[in-house]
C-alpha cells in the first residue's frame, strides 16, 4: 500500500496526529489501529475520535501541501453533505413551521371539517408523522448514493499514507 506520490506529500490531518500511544488516555490505543488491514469492509469504525490534547502535531505544515486530488474529493464530499443536509433539514423544519403558523393564524382553515370529524389540521399532523417513515428511508438511500462513495474515496486517500497502514490489533 505504498503510493509514492502521497508519501512525498503526507496529505493531511491524519498525518498530523500523533501515534496513539501519545494520547493522554491511551484508552483506545488497542483498538485504534484495528480494522485498517481489512480496509474496504470496515467503514472507518474504530477510527480514533478527537482528543483535543492529542493535537500538538509536529506535521502541521504538511497540510498546506495536501494533494489536489484529495482536496477535490473533500470539497465534493463537503458539498454533497451540504446539499443533502439542506434539503432534508429545510423540508422537515419548513413543513412543520408552516403547519404551526397555519394552525395559529388560520384556525378557521385548519379547524374546518372535511370528512366527519377530521380537520385539515389534524390530517396534516398525522400525515407528517406518517411521512416521517418515508422521509427517513429516503434520507438513508440518498446518503448512501451521494455521500458514502465520496466519503469512501476521502478515507482511501487518507489511509495509505498513514503510518499505521497495515497495523493490526
Amino acid at each position: 500500500m505504498t503510493y509514492a506520490d502521497e508519501n512525498r506529500y503526507p496529505p493531511s490531518a491524519p498525518a498530523g496526529w500523533p501515534p496513539p500511544h501519545l494520547e493522554p488516555h491511551g484508552i483506545r490505543s488497542g483498538h485504534e489501529t484495528y480494522g485498517q488491514s481489512s480496509w474496504p469492509e470496515s467503514y472507518g469504525h474504530d477510527v480514533p475520535r478527537y482528543d483535543s490534547y492529542g493535537r500538538q502535531a509536529p506535521w502541521d505544515a504538511a497540510y498546506a501541501h495536501g494533494t489536489h486530488q484529495y482536496d477535490d474529493d473533500l470539497a465534493a464530499l463537503r458539498s454533497a453533505y451540504r446539499v443533502l443536509r439542506r434539503i432534508s433539514t429545510l423540508t422537515a423544519l419548513g413543513s412543520f413551521v408552516v403547519y404551526v403558523v397555519l394552525s395559529c393564524y388560520a384556525p378557521g382553515l385548519m379547524g374546518s371539517k372535511i370528512i366527519g370529524e377530521l380537520s385539515p389540521g389534524m390530517a396534516w399532523g398525522v400525515l407528517q408523522l406518517v411521512v416521517t417513515f418515508a422521509a427517513v428511508s429516503w434520507y438513508g438511500r440518498s446518503a448512501q448514493r451521494s455521500v458514502d462513495p465520496l466519503a469512501r474515496a476521502v478515507r482511501e486517500r487518507a489511509v495509505p499514507a498513514g503510518r499505521n497502514a497495515g497495523a493490526t490489533r
Binding site: 491524519p14 472507518g44 497540510y63 453533505y81 422537515a92 408523522l129 427517513v136 469512501r152
Partner: protein, 538 residues
C-alpha cells in the same frame, strides 16, 4: 381510585420488584470492566444499530414525555397533537442535521465535540456546566414527580413522608444503574423499557379504538364532549389561549421543542456509541421509527383519555393531566377488580415505572460522564488522568449527581416544577443547539464565540425563564401568588434561541478582529480535521 382493590396493588408491587431485580441483574452483568473507559462510556461500540436505535429512542422518550404529552393531549387536544408532531420531528432533525458529523467528531461527551478544535479548560468547563444545566432540571422534575406518581399508583395516602420515600427509592435505584451499568447497562434498560412502552401503548391504543368500534370520528366526538371544550378541542388555542400573545407563545414553544429536545446531552451521548456512519444512520432510523410510532400511539391514548375519563376527573387528580394515562388504563380494563382491569393497570403502571427509572438513570449518567470526563479528566487533570481513576470518578460523580438530584427533588416536591422541563429544553435549544451547529459546520467559529454561545444562551434562557409567566403571575405558575413576570411568555425560545446564535456569531467576530492569529488557528484546525468530521477518515 377508591374502588381500586388491594389485590391490584399487591400485583403492581410484585411487578415493580420483579422489574427492579431483573434490570439490576442485567445491569451488573452488562457492567463495564473496571479500568476500561471506552467500555464505560460507549460500551465498546458493540451495540447493533437496532439495539442502539432502541436505546436512543428509550433515552429520548422520558417519563416526562410519556406522562405530560398524554396529559396535554387529553386536556388541550389540538395543541397536544402539534406537540406530539414536534417531539417526533425533533429527533428527525437531529438525524438529518447533526447525527453523522456528531458521531465522527465526538468521543464520549459533548465536551469532546466542542473542544476538538479549541483545546482548553475554559471550553471543557463551559461544556460541563451547560450539560449539567440541561440535565439536572430534567432529572429533578422527574424525580419529584416520582413521589406523587408512585403514591398515586400504589394508592398510598398523599403524605409527605411516603412521597419522600418514593423519591429516595427511585433515586437510589437510578444511581445504582448509572454507576454500575455505565453506557451499556443503561442501554439495556432503555431497550427493555422501550419494548415494554411500545407494547403497552399498542394495547392501550387498540383498546381505546375498540371501545369506539374502530371509528376515529367517534373517538374525536367523544373527546370533544369529554373535554368539555366542544369544537375548540380540535382547534389550536386551549393550551396557551387564542390571544395574539398566546399564539406567539405557542409558536415559540413548538420551535423550542423541535430545536431543543433532541440536542439534550443524554441523547447525543448515545450517538457516540455507534460503530460508524452507516451504523449511526441505521440506529437513528430505528430510533425515529420507534419514536414516531409512539407519537402516533400517544395521540390515540391522549384522545382516548379525554373521551373516556373526561377532563374534569383528569384535572381533579393532577392539573397538568400527568396521571391521565393511568386513569385511562383503569377505565379500559373493564369492571374494577376484574382480572382484565388488574392486568392492564399493572402493565401500564409497570411501564410508567420502568420508563421513569430508565430516563432518570440515563440523565444521571450523562451528567456524571460530563463531570468526570470534561471537568475532572480534562479541566482538572488537563487530560492526564488515568483511565482507571476516571472510571472511579465517573462512578462517584453518578452518586453525587444522584444525591444532589434527590435532595433538590425532595425540596421542591410540593411545588409545581413542570417548568423545569421547559427550562431544560430551552437551554438545549438556546445553548447546546447553537454551539453544536456552529462547531460542526462553521469554520470561522472561535473560542470566544463558543463560550459566548454556551454561557450566553444558557444564561439568557435561565434569566428569561425566571421572569416568565411560567414562574410567576399566572394561576398555574410555580409561584402563583408572586408577581415578577416581566417576560410575557411561557417559553423563552423565541428570544433566547436567536440570542444564543447571535452571541456565538458576535463572539467569533470579536475574535476575528482582536485575535486574528487565534481565529486563523481555529480555522486551520477545523480544516485540518474536516476529513475526519465528514468521512471518519483517519
Amino acid at each position: 381510585m377508591t374502588e381500586f382493590s388491594s389485590g391490584a396493588q399487591a400485583i403492581v408491587l410484585v411487578l415493580f420488584t420483579t422489574l427492579v431485580t431483573v434490570t439490576l441483574m442485567m445491569c451488573v452483568m452488562a457492567g463495564p470492566d473496571r479500568d476500561d473507559l471506552a467500555n464505560f462510556y460507549t460500551g465498546y461500540l458493540s451495540l447493533t444499530p437496532l439495539r442502539n436505535g432502541l436505546a436512543i429512542a428509550g433515552d429520548y422518550i422520558s417519563a416526562a414525555t410519556v406522562l405530560s404529552t398524554t396529559g396535554i393531549i387529553a386536556l388541550t387536544g389540538y395543541d397536544g397533537y402539534v406537540l406530539a408532531v414536534s417531539t417526533a420531528l425533533s429527533l428527525v432533525l437531529l438525524m438529518f442535521l447533526l447525527a453523522e458529523p456528531l458521531r465522527n467528531a465526538g468521543r464520549f461527551t459533548m465536551g469532546d465535540v466542542l473542544a476538538r478544535n479549541m483545546p482548553g479548560r475554559a471550553v471543557r468547563i463551559a461544556a460541563c456546566l451547560v450539560t449539567l444545566s440541561a440535565t439536572l432540571p430534567f432529572l429533578v422534575v422527574q424525580l419529584s414527580g416520582a413521589g406523587s406518581l408512585l403514591t398515586f399508583i400504589l394508592n398510598i395516602p398523599h403524605a409527605a413522608g411516603a412521597r419522600t420515600a418514593s423519591i429516595v427509592i427511585v433515586g437510589t435505584l437510578m444511581i445504582i444503574y448509572a454507576a454500575i451499568g455505565g453506557m451499556k447497562g443503561t442501554a439495556l434498560i432503555q431497550m427493555i423499557k422501550i419494548v415494554l412502552l411500545i407494547g403497552t401503548s399498542v394495547v392501550v391504543a387498540a383498546l381505546v379504538l375498540n371501545r369506539f368500534d374502530w371509528s376515529p370520528g367517534a373517538v374525536l366526538r367523544a373527546a370533544q364532549h369529554g373535554s368539555g371544550a366542544g369544537p375548540a378541542y380540535l382547534q389550536q388555542g386551549l393550551q396557551l389561549g387564542t390571544s395574539a400573545g398566546g399564539r406567539l407563545d405557542f409558536v415559540s414553544f413548538q420551535i423550542t421543542i423541535i430545536l431543543g429536545v433532541a440536542c439534550l446531552p443524554h441523547i447525543t451521548m448515545r450517538l457516540y456509541s455507534a460503530q460508524d456512519v452507516p451504523a449511526v444512520r441505521r440506529s437513528m432510523s430505528w430510533a425515529v421509527g420507534t419514536v414516531t410510532t409512539f407519537c402516533l400511539l400517544v395521540i390515540i391514548m391522549g384522545t382516548g383519555a379525554a373521551a373516556l375519563v373526561g377532563s374534569q376527573h383528569i384535572t381533579a387528580a393532577d392539573p397538568h393531566g400527568r396521571t391521565s394515562l393511568l386513569m385511562l388504563s383503569q377505565m379500559l380494563g373493564g369492571a374494577p377488580g376484574s382480572a382484565g382491569a388488574t392486568m392492564l393497570y399493572s402493565a401500564v403502571a409497570g411501564m410508567v415505572f420502568i420508563t421513569l427509572l430508565s430516563s432518570v438513570a440515563g440523565m444521571t449518567l450523562a451528567a456524571a460522564s460530563s463531570l468526570a470526563h470534561d471537568l475532572f479528566a480534562h479541566a482538572v487533570r488537563r487530560g492526564r488522568a488515568e483511565p482507571r481513576t476516571e472510571m472511579t470518578v465517573a462512578a462517584w460523580t453518578s452518586v453525587v449527581v444522584g444525591i444532589v438530584a434527590i435532595g433538590l427533588a425532595t425540596t421542591v416536591q410540593n411545588w409545581d416544577v413542570g417548568v423545569l422541563t421547559t427550562l431544560a429544553v430551552c437551554i438545549g435549544a438556546s445553548a447546546v443547539a447553537p454551539a453544536l451547529t456552529y462547531s460542526l459546520f462553521w469554520r470561522g467559529f472561535t473560542r470566544t464565540g463558543l463560550l459566548a454561545t454556551l454561557y450566553g444562551g444558557a444564561a439568557g434562557a435561565l434569566l428569561l425563564m425566571v421572569f416568565s409567566k411560567a414562574v410567576s403571575g399566572t394561576p398555574s405558575a410555580v409561584f402563583p401568588n408572586a408577581d415578577f413576570d416581566l417576560f410575557p411568555m411561557q417559553t423563552t425560545g423565541l428570544v433566547s434561541i436567536p440570542f444564543g446564535y447571535l452571541a456565538g456569531w458576535l463572539g467569533s467576530l470579536l475574535d476575528h478582529r482582536r485575535r486574528a492569529a487565534d481565529s486563523r488557528e481555529h480555522r486551520r484546525l477545523y480544516e485540518e480535521s474536516e476529513a475526519r468530521l465528514l468521512a471518519a477518515a483517519e
